[in-house]
Amino acid sequence: MKNIKYITITIALLGIVLFTSSCIDDLNTVPLDEDELVSDRVFGKDLNAYTQSLAKIYAGFAIGGNAGGDAEQDVAGIDGGSQASFLRVLWNMQDLPSDIAHCAWNDPGIPDFNQITWGASSPWIKGSYYRLYYQINVANAFLRETTEDKLNSRGASETLKDSIKIYRAEARLLRAMTYEYALDLYRNVPFVTEDSPIGNVLPQQIMAKDLFNFIEQELLECETDLPDPVVGYSQNYGHVSKSAAWAILSRLYLNAEEYINQPKYTECITYCKKIIDAGYQLEPVYADMFKADNQNSKEMIFPIRYEGAETMTWGGMTFLLCMGPADLQTATNAKGAWQGYRAKSSLIKLFEKESLSENDARKSMLHTELTTNIEIVDQSSFKNNGTPVAKFYNVNKDGSLPPSSEAYIDFPLFRLGEIYLNYIEAVLRGGEGGSRTQALGYMNELRSRAYKTGGTITDSQLTLDFVLDERGRELFWEAQRRTDLVRFGKFTSGDYLWPWKGGVAQGKAVDDHFNVYPIPSDDIGTNTNLKQNEGY
């Protein structure tokens, strides 16, 4: 009997051991949900997965997260619909601290933008910085997953590899473009590529000169693999092409003297010409460039696309539509009217410098008839303090409406109008390869498009100061102004004052260190390799 007892006990114990060891294996779980995957399940032989990963980089410029309405936000701890929306925060950082716009809201960081009094702890600066790095990180991740070795190990076909080659060039271009914005806003930033080690290694800080060289080199290298430019709409619309590379280069070179103290105006002209020679044309009616069906425009070089509820965000184009007055909400087919932003009187004066400015279609976007005072007396009051602006209209060229009041207007990140102005300025600053006559021609083309009648200028009127003013008149409300003012040395100096510059109603000079934004205090604290920009 005892034997049987001991045998039974032994068998029972063995059974328990086998049972428990199989249960221990239960601890190796993988995500159940089909929408949550580990990387070896995401990437395989199918092109779609790679396109979707590439699309994430593009989408990061348009919307704030991985679900509609900026939910599942990309940048943690910052509102995906405002401070971490690429377009919205860029716009606030470029057009508010300038002679263009002013915002009545008291949200943290906004008054500092109005007045050029910001510091390293501004949530907007933090949002902008981390949004740029989110884009860089996702681009790096894509490049890591699409190396020759990785593709071969997955058994990728030659056709797949060919498509991926183009995708890789696109990712590199988008990354270079992001670094160009970082260079423009912050100058000396942490540097990571797909070859940087992942994990606990702190990135090194790259100085402006080296960053400039990197961006230039990347753009020149990936240019060859990018598709040729197609003017107007095509089934590739939304992807970058060679012209996007040229456009970024033209901007990079135009500002080279400011970034690295080396004039590169000749190179700027070279790339402006390449774009112009590709066949782009100005949109015949200025306002049409900013309407819901502007994807058909021949002036569009590279857009940030918005397609209604499918690309739903509270930042981006939604912000550009809704930030204005309730009076214009129906006309612009906006889904809200938040009443915060208006033009400073300095923008009105930019137009009124010109005789016959009442013929300028661009000036008619400043609705002086909706305000009793173009001056901003009470900074936090919206009505009758400054001029409401409506530039973006969520309607089609022919007046018909898009499917809803969600934003359908694509934001023209690069358009021919800017390229013309780059060319003109580069020529005036002594770049070679172009001519004054050609420059004057382009200037008059721009102005004739804007003016109902007249508007052309003579050669003697074509000065650098005139170019700065015209850039303001042409590119206002398009997130460009601060860069231009900095390049002309007028951003911080007392030469050019506008309302509330420096915190006083008539404006005053501010310290030069404000020409560059500070690296957010969060990253200075975390990455001991970084040295803060001077003055902060």
């Binding site: 249960c23 510091g119 942490p190 975390t526």
Partner: protein
């Protein structure tokens, strides 16, 4: 024996003495002549005397002793011996994987018998425990029916991971990773009447046996079981009325009119926006509510198998109109024994069916902001379904306007149906060949299925002012959730006494699986679906996830001479949430206790019944990190509806890489505890004193990671440490007990101090801490902070400067760094939301058949940010008047404060929320032996929340999270109850 002729019905004087087993007289023992109200008590020598018939029967009782029934049998002098009631003194307490005698417990354990609690209105077990145990703080989320409760034991040991204790119901640990959709308080699956005991394990030497889920303490709940004996039937019913206690002090229509015209002038735009009505919005959304709770239970034994079954029905209405909870619960316990009673089988099943209607709590905040000069209804507009709405001059709705609070309640249906069942089968087998060896197998499950809809009527005011579309169609959501949790526990237990040594050893294995799946869909209303031609207005989403815990554990108890006790426990926990390198954690604990009252030098003290010194040490973990079940894996997420990109005409969804930390591991807390358990006069006076120190390491914190190193700028990773120190004292006393009177008091007080000691990888002087706590009325401003060398949950504000008569100076703040400007650098950590001291007092007084009981509770040292006030005072800019044409009501304190621009981050709004509160007072009357079937009946009247004393200026100082905003007020309830026992 002198046989006098004593007539059968005659009375004689019967005398006697009552002694204990040692021959000592028992003073104050009760002698009752059975079947009558004739009785007496023993005197200083234990003697008694009373008039009784010779054939009468005496019932002799004394607390702490077994009652005796003594027939007189014509005796005139009766000597009675009472035996100590071992059950009471050697109360058995349920601990993890076993039981222990209360006397032998080496850890800090509080055992509560649910029936002895002074009860008020209780929908859920958590309501019963409020204020009853030292160191345990329970804060309900407000007065909504079935509102959830925040339970904290000794202050909580984490910052971003869960601070909830582990709750074990009849041996099945309940999943506390995520709540149950559609049900605010998952604990309310169990009807409070079905609970037998609560055991609260507080220090690590008691909780470490639960390993990686034990850092915040453990609450073990056991439900009532049947007893062998006659079948008993019980009924409990309550009927109650709830009323609102007070209103937020906002301006009424005449005062508001006066305020607006005074500030802006008669013909101003602001004054012209005023209406002509006089509406008290708060009165419109609140009302008196009626509720009832009915419970029937049957217990006894069928063919030697004890069983207990109960059914209850609750219908609770809330004071916020449209809030309602209906619940049907049932439970069945079977406890058969087989094989010579060596195989003890316990089968427990509890089921619940719950229907909720959640009222729109946003209406509460809205009612205190909506313009009192406007009407509730309006006619003549196509918009708003007849409710008043703000319209533009062209008659279309103003989309950023405030929403009509009455419409918010009436036009929204947020209803859910939840089915839940918790059950287990436990087999306990005592081996034959080796006495003292016992095997226990427990298999349990916890399943819930929820279904809910949030439906907003088309064209109601909300559809024009909120949501993603603001187009007039009701944005409806349909959600479902299924949760399944299964458990298998097995352990062997060996118990034996070798001479002066007593050994108890236990070794076991546990496996638990948690599974959850959820789905959301967004249908148009039927009418819109017909118009638009689409069933859904945006794509739905679904998610499923699971995790496993596998553990090995053991415990060794060694007792020497019944005086010196040693306990060791060890648990090896493996969780599927961490990478294979970090998966397994070892959680040891050790405790030593010394029963001083058993020592010779103290044995003589008759009055000392218990004196035990305890020291314990243990390490516990927290694996409930709040970031999903796969946080360490590199994963990609497909985008959801509304996030896509287009190339040409083709739409692509997005694939995003998620930030992850592959080195993520659980938080680890080390606890030191020293305590004394004491008892005097046969434990008529007893209690405990504890001192503890807890340190949590590898504290999870979301820290900024260097830009460029991961897929997010912030990462949840183990970086910090936190410590908690505290003292607890509790005393239970029965000051008076005799034939007519009995008075029991319980008092507990605890003090806890916590401090965050580390938060980042490097010590960065510029790192201020984790700033959180968004507030209403200022996007982007946060008023709370976790900072190093501060308690967690401190407020983060500017320090306000006041005039001599106490008015705050607008914008006048202390310039902390003296740099001449007031900016982010001048914000300071200020006060905190957690209390320093918590106290509870419950008293139960019985006089003959009457009983009077109450529960009192105090919280001292907790502060609150009064967001209701901070968002309703300023009158300038767009604070009170929005330029699209509507006004927002202000509080009456706006006259005193007089801010033009709102100052949300001022210390002026951090107010002392300490309070002294009476939770309930009950007066009851018991009827004994009404008729043969009815053993006893009790009728009682309770007032819940009779009064609260506090200096806090807001509505209710008791809420979770530190920011007072929109709390559902707790009602005052008047309850009539009846319980019958057959």
């Amino acid at each position: 024996m002198a046989v006098s002729a004593i007539a059968q019905t005659g009375q004689t004087n019967v005398k006697g003495t009552v002694r204990d087993v040692n021959g000592e007289p028992i003073i104050g023992a009760t002698i009752l002549l059975q079947g009558t109200t004739v009785g007496t008590a023993t005197d200083m020598d234990g003697n008694f005397s009373l008039q009784a018939p010779g054939n009468g029967v005496l019932e002799v009782s004394y607390i702490g002793y077994k009652s005796e029934v003594v027939p007189i049998n014509n005796r005139t002098n009766i000597q009675i011996i009472l035996e100590e009631d071992v059950e009471l003194l050697e109360e058995v307490v349920v601990i993890g994987y076993g039981t222990v005698r209360k006397n032998d417990a080496t850890g800090s354990v509080t055992a509560i018998n649910a029936d002895k609690l002074v009860k008020g209105f209780a929908t859920s077990p958590s309501d019963l425990l409020v204020g009853k145990a030292a160191g345990v703080s329970i804060t309900t989320d407000g007065g909504a029916p079935g509102a959830g409760a925040n339970i904290r034991i000794r202050g909580g040991s984490s910052m971003s991971a869960s601070n909830d204790p582990l709750i074990v119901i009849d041996g099945v640990p309940v999943d506390n990773t995520s709540g149950i959709s559609g049900m605010s308080n998952p604990l309310s699956t169990i009807h409070p009447n079905d609970i037998a005991t609560f055991t609260i394990l507080k220090d690590a030497s008691a909780t470490a046996i639960y390993g990686s889920r034990a850092s915040n303490g453990v609450i073990i709940i056991t439900t009532k079981k049947g007893q062998i004996g006659k079948i008993k039937v019980g009924y409990n019913g309550t009927y109650s009325i709830s009323t609102k206690i007070k209103n937020v002090d906002v301006m009424d229509a005449p005062t508001f009119r006066e305020f607006v015209t005074e500030k802006y002038g008669e013909g101003s735009e602001q004054a012209l926006a005023l209406g002509n009505e006089n509406t008290n919005w708060q009165s419109q959304i609140f009302g008196t509510a009626f509720s009832t709770d009915q419970n029937i239970n049957v217990s006894g034994a069928i063919a030697q198998m004890p069983f207990r079954a109960s059914v209850s029905y609750t219908d609770e209405n809330g004071i916020l109109k449209t809030s309602n909870l209906q619940r049907l619960t049932g439970s069945l316990n079977l406890n058969p024994k087989f094989i010579d009673k060596r195989l003890d089988v316990q089968l427990n099943v509890k089921g619940m069916y719950n229907k909720n209607r959640f009222a729109n709590q946003g209406a509460i905040g809205m009612a205190t902001q909506f313009d009192p000069t406007q009407p509730i209804y309006m006619t003549g507009s196509d918009y708003g379904n007849g409710y008043f709405m703000y319209l533009k001059s062209d008659g279309t709705p103003i989309d950023i306007a405030l929403t009509n609070p009455v419409a918010m309640l009436n036009e929204r249906e947020d209803e859910s149906t939840v089915y839940r069942s918790i059950g287990n089968a436990q087999f306990d087998y005592k081996f034959n060949f080796l006495p003292g060896l016992r095997a226990n197998l427990n298999m349990g499950y916890d399943v819930s299925n929820s279904d809910g809809d949030v439906i907003i009527k088309d064209n109601s005011p909300m559809t024009w002012t909120s949501g993603n579309f603001k187009k007039g169609f009701g944005e409806n959501t349909h959600y479902t959730q299924l949760k399944r949790n299964t458990l298998l526990d097995f352990y062997l237990n060996y118990d034996n006494q070798f001479g002066i040594h007593q050994i108890n050893a236990m070794a076991g294995y546990s496996w638990q699986h948690f599974y959850r799946e959820e789905e959301n869909s967004y249908p148009y209303s039927k009418e819109w679906a017909r118009t638009v031609g689409n069933e859904f207005y945006k794509d739905g989403d679904s998610y499923s996830t699971e995790s496993y815990i596998v553990s090995f554990f053991g415990r060794l108890n060694y007792t020497l001479l019944n005086k010196y006790l040693l306990t060791f426990t060890l648990r090896n926990d493996g969780s599927s949430r961490f990478s294979p390198e970090n998966r397994w954690g070892l959680f040891p604990s050790a405790a030593f206790a010394w029963k001083l009252n058993e020592e010779d030098f103290l044995k003589g003290f008759q009055n000392l019944s218990d004196l035990k010194i305890r020291i314990g040490y243990g390490v516990t973990g927290q694996q409930n990190l709040g970031n999903g079940d796969y946080p360490y894996m590199a994963r990609y997420m497909y985008s959801k509806a509304g996030a896509n990109y287009f190339f040409g005409d083709k739409e692509y969804s997005l694939t995003a890489p998620l930030a992850y930390d592959e080195n993520l591991k659980w938080e680890e807390t080390t606890t030191w505890n020293a305590g004394i358990d004491y008892g005097f006069l046969n434990n008529r006076l007893n209690g405990a004193f504890d001192f503890y120190y807890r340190k949590t390491n590898d504290l999870l914190n979301t820290v900024s990671v260097p830009a460029g190193t991961n897929f997010s700028n912030q990462l949840l990773t183990n970086v910090g440490s936190l410590e908690n120190k505290g003292v607890e004292f509790s005393i239970n006393a029965i000051p008076i007990t005799n034939k007519d009177w009995n008075w029991t008091i319980g008092y507990n007080i605890s003090y806890n101090k916590n401090k965050i000691t580390k938060m980042t990888i490097n010590d960065d002087p510029n790192y201020v801490g984790v700033i959180y706590g968004g507030i209403d009325g200022a996007t982007g401003y946060n008023v709370m902070i976790h900072a190093v060398d501060q308690p967690y949950g401190a407020f983060y504000v500017f320090q306000q400067i006041y005039t001599e008569d106490g008015h705050p100076i607008e914008g006048g703040y202390v310039d902390q760094n003296s740099d001449g400007k007031i900016d982010e650098q001048d914000l300071i950590p200020y006060k905190k939301s957690a209390p320093d001291v918590l106290m509870g007092l419950s008293s139960s007084l019985n006089y003959k058949n009457w009983d009077l009981g109450f529960s009192l509770r105090a919280s001292i040292g907790n502060y609150a940010y009064n967001n209701v006030q901070s968002n309703r005072e300023a009158y300038g800019g767009s604070q009170m008047y929005d330029q699209t044409g509507f006004l927002k009501n202000r509080m009456n304190s706006a006259f005193f404060t007089n801010f033009y621009t709102s100052q949300p981050r001022s210390s002026y709004y951090i107010q002392n929320a300490s309070f002294l509160k009476m939770d309930n007072i009950t007066l009851g009357y018991s009827f004994n032996h009404i008729f043969n079937g009815l053993q006893n009946a009790r009728l009682y009247f309770t007032v819940q929340n009779p009064f609260i004393y506090t200096k806090y200026k807001g509505l209710d100082p008791e809420f979770n999270g530190g920011i007072d905003n929109n709390i559902y007020p707790r009602p005052r309830m008047f309850l009539l109850g009846m319980s019958l026992n057959f």
